[in-house]
Symmetry: C2
Subunit: 363 residues, 2 copies
DNA sequence: CCTCCTCGTGGAATCGATTACAAGGAGGAT
DNA sequence: ATCCTCCTTGTAATCGATTCCACGAGGAGG
């Protein structure tokens, strides 16, 4: 592969001049510039990013460590992160922790070894010392979605408290009283925050959240399945189950279906994180949607600010409840309402069924 | 951040010795080795991968350019690719082309600039000259899933021909005669191969595939929606629709639902690519499943072979039909069969509903 | 006791860029 | 004509590693 020396030789100038042309430094004569450009063209030269990074001590690369690529929420996040980063002139390297702390460490280490300019982390485990060392060691870092309390790192996340309150009001309004939750790992903020928000919302309705109604999950489908099986085996099983992420929701649905039960007739159901498929499940699933694109953009901007020496901003955006049919039919709608063509969604709507959905802001 | 010089100074040896210890070169005295290791420890030294890459001319990194991260099939592929690569001592950088040729070019260029050791590509557009130039330019490359004919690059892919034939037999057996397909872009191999397989299978049953029954999609949900709307507006709409990937399937379901039609009663439905959610849709969707993990592993191994100078192997694995209920109830099963606990799947089954599924190999 | 090998070690070149510094030439002001 | 600027250019140092080569010490063999 051609190097800068080859270009210099071909253009009859020194490597310094070639470099100046490449970096659009002003003091290069039009003649030299033209000759360099021609040489670059004929040789098909592309600067070696590795060498450049070594010299300039910057890679124009961001690391993104997410907890689980197979989780559509994180996939979407990753996609928007890359988009915004590209707009700001950065590349993104994704590390998938698979909800395993040691894998998270592996990726953080690898990314640090590659001297990425900054790190976007959604910690699978807040206790990993490696990540915190990196932050203290001066690596620009921003937490997305999940964070670690007590560390001086900007946080970009969604606040589901209001939406959870709306959800509980919705469930309560439909007559459900025994409400259970499948929680994420306690080592993650999203793991216990969602439980606390749920517990608090229940209290507002004079309801308790017994331990038996808290399933310990790990944000993976299997744990949702197991927790739900346990719920259903209880002498007094819950009337509605709330899964704290969409993968555990998948597992929970598996378990409910395996029992031969029907949602919402036999049991109400809702999930955190909204994904396109929730419109097409049987029945469509009531979910709490996060503003993923905005989160991604805010996180990248905060990280870029940190890297480029501007003051970064922590951001918290509200999640919102999207009501569908998995908790029961709303009272004000007839049960066997005809579904004609007239109900078709207008063009441009991302999902046709959204016409039936009700969005809640505050009750 | 500490460099190799700092370690050398701390250990009282030269940088050469430090480097030898780091690369476990045999001729280092036990004493020196111990001092270096201690120095590395106290300084928290980690070798700079950028500098190392510049010198050794290898990055131990693979590039993976996929057509769309939001497509669960590719996400899964990416996950397994990273897993296998990690096992072989490589990192992976993912580039998401979003089905846009110019974005694919952007990522290929960026990855090449970073001097990745090899490239795994699922071409969004076979006509992109950049990718082919790279292949001819000597960059180790392997095509996954999609490929470009007439280029000397190993291909790892699934062959859906048999499974499509099984699907058509299944549809025919359920009485469907007017069958339509939502195709992917003609510029991709998977785009036209699936149509050809479908057409051929229809011919075996004496059925034709009129142009009106071929929807031109682009592997994105929206195109599936539009194609399906067009099908349903036909004077003689198809009795069953086959979507060539899971995202177009999502769009197609949106369109069917918007019309107030029911699957499978009003229209039969099937899709290429099986995803976990297909078990929980209304109704569960009959799909053609690809052996994603095996494809990913084979692709990474082929690429590693190429990089490390061994002869690489092209691999083609069969896809297989997974029958659920979206094409109609199988004749030999009662329609309103009771769903008791006895039908629950055994523990350990990834998805509970699989108990109901029938796997076909050949009709 | 001398020679030859082996082993451990350090010096220095190298990878491909960027950039500080010096130097040469052109042009304007005096 | 001389001096001073400004503009352009090249030489060489540098980033942090790896690795070739040379050198000295020490042991084996003659």
């Amino acid at each position: 592969m051609a190097s800068i020396k080859d270009v210099a030789a071909q253009a009859g100038v020194s490597v310094a001049t070639v470099s100046r042309v490449l970096n659009s430094h002003p003091s290069v004569s039009p003649d030299a510039r033209a000759r360099v450009i021609a040489a670059v063209e004929t040789l098909g030269y592309r600067p070696n990013a590795v060498a450049r990074s070594l010299r300039t001590d910057q890679t124009r690369t961001l690391g993104l460590v997410i907890s689980d690529v197979l989780n559509p929420y994180f996939t979407e996040l990753a996609r928007f992160v890359e988009e915004e980063a590209r707009a700001l002139g950065y590349s993104v390297i994704i590390g998938n922790a698979d909800e395993r702390p040691e894998l998270q460490d592996h990726h953080v280490r690898t990314l640090l070894d590659r001297r990425i300019d900054g790190l976007l982390v959604s910690p699978a485990d807040g206790r990993s010392p490696l990540t915190l060392d990196a932050a203290r060691g001066g690596t620009p870092m921003v937490f997305v979605d999940r964070w670690v309390p007590g560390v001086d790192v900007p946080v970009v996340r969604a606040d589901g408290r209001e939406a959870v309150r709306d959800l509980v009001a919705h469930l309560h309004g439909l007559g459900h009283r025994r409400l259970a939750i499948i929680a994420g790992p306690a080592a993650t903020t999203t793991g216990h925050e969602r439980v606390e928000a749920f517990r608090e919302a229940l209290r507002e309705h004079g309801l308790a959240l017994p331990d038996a109604y808290i399933g310990q999950g790990d944000f993976q489908a299997d744990s949702g399945r197991r927790a739900t099986e346990r719920f259903l085996s209880l002498p007094e099983p819950p009337e509605a189950v709330f899964a704290a992420d969409n993968l555990m929701a998948l597992g929970a649905l598996d378990a409910i279906r395996a029992r031969g039960l029907r949602v919402p007739d036999d049991i109400g159901f809702a999930a955190f994180d909204d994904i396109p498929w929730f419109v097409h499940t049987d029945p469509p699933i009531t979910a709490i949607a996060q503003p993923t694109a905005e989160l991604a953009r805010a996180a990248v901007r905060a990280l870029a600010d940190l890297i480029e020496g501007r003051p970064p901003q922590s951001v918290t955006l509200p999640a919102r409840l999207v009501v569908r049919r998995s908790c029961g039919e709303p009272h004000d709608e007839p049960h066997d309402e005809p579904r004609g063509e007239s109900r078709g969604a207008p063009r441009g709507e991302p999902h046709a069924d959204r016409g039936r959905e009700q969005r809640r802001s505050t009750p």
